[in-house]
Every structure is written in structure tokens, then in C-alpha cells.
Symmetry: C2
Subunit: 336 residues, 2 copies
């Protein structure tokens, strides 16, 4: 049996079965954005890790190394944000081809340091080795949440509202813009805005903190693999169905504009593009108004895109009024 036969998630299940049960210090283990660990009475420690491979996750023709450093850290910070946590300390390992240009690695670290400063996140160690293959970047990040406040995937309740922070689909639009000759039809400002969505995503740490502190947020994921995939994870972990409306998806006008120029579907970018690093989840209707007010006080946006209902899976109400099942497949490394 080869890896390509079972896929990424199939392999995770196979390997997970090999491991021993965890002890009581593990509040949440494998299967959420980050693990939740109980090290002392007041605060939980969060732990998340991501691996990026050149040629698979990034290519030099669509991202510069400083942005790559930013984005590598952003993905991990976003996992902590999705738990409602504060990012704290990172270790970064690199496997590097011997003939690699050092300047690129220095630029990578400039981007890592740039977003680290913004989020008060320290790089405190790592490992460097050579490889005969492509550049591999591994980022592991700790975080903290108040005891019992971590936002999980599994708490969505029938009747809860489904939210999305700020806008989605921008990262896919930025990538399409980079790869399309039609980008010259945009002004430089419009191009830069789309590029930033793709290359400099903003992890939503403050939104996660507000949601966790409210006591009304019943589930949360960050949008790394696309909204459809994230909502499927929440529905499955919570044992509920989620129903969203196409008309309510928060898609920036710059994204809609370029989709029109490019002949692309902005809703497809929003549902399946991924790498937006916004948060999605569910919130008790009783808490919605107060959370929205606090979001607005901090210059954050939140859209209600649907509702939690009984059943399984995720449904999409199209603009036409037709309701269809929404496939999960955002991005699965081994089967797409």
C-alpha cells in the first residue's frame, strides 16, 4: 500500500492508531488546530506545528522569501488564534539543499521576525540540516489560553449562528492574479491588495481572543483549507449539520472585480481557496450582538453566513434559492 492510495487523512488515522492513549495532562490531542495541554491550574499551553515543502506549498515564482517567512509563521499563529489563544514561542527547523542561496534564507527570517514582532511571538530555537531534496520549513508554535477557554471544533449546537471574520477568497484571488496575464487590467493598487491577501495574510489573534473571552463561541476553526472544508470539520466534530447562504459570504469587492476580469468564480475561491487565515465557527445567538460590538471596537468585521441545524454535512443555499450539499474537498495534498 502506498501513500497515494490512502491519502493524507487516511494515513493520519493509520498512524494515530499506533500511538498510546494520552494522559490527563492532554486536554485536546490530535485533531484540532492545536493541542491543549494542562501544565498549571490557571493557563493551558497550546501547541501546533506546520511543515512546508518547496514545490508543494510554495514556489519562488509566486512568493518572495520575506513573504514566505511571514506566511509560514502566519499559518501557525492562525492555528493558535483559532483556539482563542495568545501565540508565544516558536521553534523553526529547515532542511536546506547545500547550494541554496543564503540571502533567501535571511529574507525568510526577516519575514518571520516581522510577523513575530507584530504578535509578540519569540523564535526560541530550531534545527538546521542539509537535504538532497527541496527546502523544507517546519514551524512549531506554543500559545496560551485561560484554563477551559480554548475554542474547539466540537461544541457547535443546533440554533447557533455560523460566523466568518473579515473577508475570504482573497488568497486564491491573489494567486490567480499572480498567474494571470489579465492582472495588467488592474491598477497597481488593486494588484497589491490582492497580492497581500495571498502573500501577507493576517492571522486573527484578536478576533480569537474576543470570541474565547465572550463565552458564547461554541466552535472555531481557522480557514487554512477553505471555508467548506473547515465547516465540514466543525459539523463532523460537533455532530450537527451546517447550512450557509451564498449571498452572505463576505467577499471583498477587489476579489469580485478581479474574478470578473479573470472569468473566475469568486464563490469558488471563497469556499475552496483556503489560506485566508480568517476564523469561522459558531456562536450562540444570545452572544452575537455583544461580540459584534467588541469586534467593531477593534476594527474587525464579522459576518453571519448561516446557522447550525440538525443532521450531518454542510449545505449551501445558492443565490437561485436552490440548496445543495457542499463538498468538503478544499485541499487534500494526496488526492488532488
Amino acid at each position: 500500500m502506498k501513500l497515494q492510495d490512502v491519502g493524507e487523512f487516511g494515513l493520519i488515522e493509520l498512524l494515530r492508531a499506533k500511538l498510546q492513549p494520552v494522559d490527563q495532562s492532554v486536554v485536546v490531542g490530535i485533531g484540532d488546530d492545536a493541542a491543549v495541554l494542562s501544565y498549571d491550574a490557571a493557563m493551558n499551553v497550546l501547541l501546533t506545528t506546520d511543515m512546508l515543502v518547496e514545490g508543494i506549498h510554495f514556489r519562488e515564482d509566486t512568493i518572495d522569501f520575506q513573504s514566505l517567512g511571514w506566511k509560514s509563521m502566519a499559518a501557525s499563529i492562525s492555528d493558535i488564534a483559532a483556539m482563542g489563544g495568545i501565540p508565544k514561542h516558536a521553534v523553526i527547523s529547515l532542511a536546506i539543499p547545500p547550494s541554496y542561496e543564503i540571502l533567501k534564507l535571511e529574507q525568510l527570517y526577516e519575514g518571520i521576525a516581522e510577523i513575530g514582532r507584530l504578535h509578540h511571538t519569540c523564535i526560541i530555537g530550531g534545527d538546521i540540516t542539509k537535504t538532497n531534496g527541496p527546502l523544507v520549513i517546519s514551524v512549531t508554535l506554543t500559545g496560551q489560553t485561560e484554563q477551559g477557554q480554548a475554542l474547539l471544533r466540537s461544541g457547535a449546537q443546533v440554533g447557533d449562528l455560523v460566523f466568518v471574520t473579515n473577508c475570504i477568497g482573497g488568497s486564491a484571488a491573489g494567486l490567480a492574479c499572480l498567474q494571470s496575464d489579465r492582472r495588467t487590467l488592474l491598477t497597481p493598487d488593486q494588484q497589491i491588495k490582492l497580492l497581500h491577501f495571498h502573500q501577507r495574510p493576517q492571522p486573527q489573534v484578536q478576533a480569537g481572543r474576543i470570541l474565547a473571552g465572550s463565552g458564547f463561541c461554541s466552535s472555531c476553526n481557522d480557514i487554512s483549507d477553505g471555508l467548506a472544508s473547515e465547516l465540514h470539520e466543525i459539523a463532523s466534530a460537533s455532530g450537527v449539520s451546517i447550512r450557509i447562504e451564498e449571498s452572505r459570504l463576505p467577499i471583498d469587492s477587489s476579489v469580485r472585480n478581479f474574478a470578473r476580469i479573470d472569468g473566475s468564480d469568486p464563490v469558488n475561491w471563497a469556499l475552496y481557496g483556503g489560506e485566508d487565515y480568517q476564523l469561522t465557527g459558531t456562536i450562540n445567538p444570545l452572544g452575537y450582538a455583544s461580540v459584534l460590538t467588541e469586534f467593531q471596537l477593534h476594527g474587525l468585521e464579522m459576518s453571519i453566513v448561516g446557522r447550525v441545524v440538525q443532521g450531518t454535512g454542510v449545505l449551501l443555499e445558492r443565490l437561485s434559492g436552490e440548496t445543495i450539499p457542499l463538498a468538503a474537498s478544499g485541499y487534500n495534498h494526496f488526492t488532488t
Copy 2:
């Protein structure tokens, strides 16, 4: 400038310069076996990470995948042991060629789980991705020590004794045995003993705990790159010189025996072989007897191999009585 021009340690310095200063939550950052983090008043959190690349760190013809899993975790557990800590929670990421045999990865995880059970260390997450290059394994492990008790590299004092736990040189002997036709001159039991030194190293968590609890251990490293390299790190970090005697190096009789058969130098294996995952460090002479007693109560061995003196660098007194400077070079990925 290429990576091969500056080497692993040169690159680390270049990249480190890009990072912001750490905040007061970081007790020890880059530059020891593990980082030390202050998350609450009683206990410090330790964090260490290692990356292994197929063809660089391991090859299928010298290690089976279950042993590889064991050894990958052993390296990280050993880093926590070298800080005097208790290993706690691990995240493991894999970059996998699509045509890789799943059975190998399952065996890898069996080995990871096996040593994890022994040390009560839970695997709580990870990331899996494909790669067009070799298999890459990244292990990140947390640990805990009592506040202020972490064993650093930087505390060696003139007059302290230099210790080594158990025996060294066994991993290099085991590798040589695997690669030598002369291994058939050993009994099966002798071969298995040497193979175990190489494939199933035993991280010295209990030794580290005794040393940290004693209050007399002034510095500590685990022997991953060879005794010479580890002692150079301690001498440099502490601003002292270390003088060791060849006649005192603890080398198992099975290692000496195979060295004779193989025409190899067992002292070379002990000083430069690495991957023994024993501990070396310095101890105040006032505490030596009590620590030794506690070691013996737990079936552990400790040898005094030398002494801390004024000056810089590491000196070796040969059997002949001649004293020579001991080069640091154990294993540097980019320059050997």
C-alpha cells in the same frame, strides 16, 4: 553566498541576527539543548526540535523503521534530559514521497510509541505533507523542569569535575559493525548489543533528573555530536577550559572488542562518534559522592573523565602522558 560556504553554525548565527530580542518569558532561548520558558511560577516549560532527513541522518540499510522511530524520539527526549527535565508532549511532522510504503511509516510510529510509553511522553499532534524529495521527520518535544533548575551549558566552574553517564562510543561501534564484513567474527549476542547502542539509544532522563535535583551539577549536554563537541560547547558557553584523560573514558568492553577486530580506534568513536545520547557535564566536587550514590541506587553509572580548569578549549591527556588540544569537530552537516 551558498550554504556550503558558511556551514550550519555560520548560518544559524546569520539567521539569529534577523530575529527580535526575546521577552522575559524566555529564560533560555537559542543555543542550548532546549529552550526554557517561564509560563507559571513553579515550573518552566522546555521546548526542543530536531529534523531528520533520509539519506543524511538515516539510511534504510543501517536502520529499520521501528528503530528509526525510537531513535528520532530518543534524540528529542535526550535534549530534555540534558536540561534535567521531564519529557511531556510531542508533535511530529512528516514530508513523505507519494510512492512511500505505508508499512514503513506504521513501523516508524510503532517505534515512536514504544519509547513514548517508556518515558510517559504523549504524541499530541503533527502535520503530514507530500514531498518530491526524501522523507523528512520533524520532532518537537516539550518538557518541564522546576523553576530555576534547568541544567544549562554555561555554568561550569574552575575546579568542577567532568562527568559522563554510562558508556560512550557504542553508537559509532554499532554503525561500524553494520557496515563491516568482520561483524561475522562476533557472536550474535555481541552483534545485537552493538546494534542496540546504534539503533535503540536510551535517553538519560533519570540521570538528568538526579543531576538537576542535586543542586551540584553546574553544566550539562547530551552527547548527540560526540563528547569532544559537547565539551567544547560547555567550555565555550562557560568561559573555561576542560581537561579530560583518555584513560578515564567509559568505553564498553564490547566496543573495545569490536574495535580491535575492525582495526578501528574506540577512543575516536567515543570522542567523535556521537548519537550515544548519554549526558556529559560538570559537577561541583562537593556533590559528587551523593550524586554517584543516587545514580547507583537507580542502576546508572557515572564516570569522572576530567576537570574544569582556567583557559579556553578542551585538552586531552593521552595514555602516553602527552596532553593535546582536542578538536571540536564531531559532526557538522555542511562541512564534513
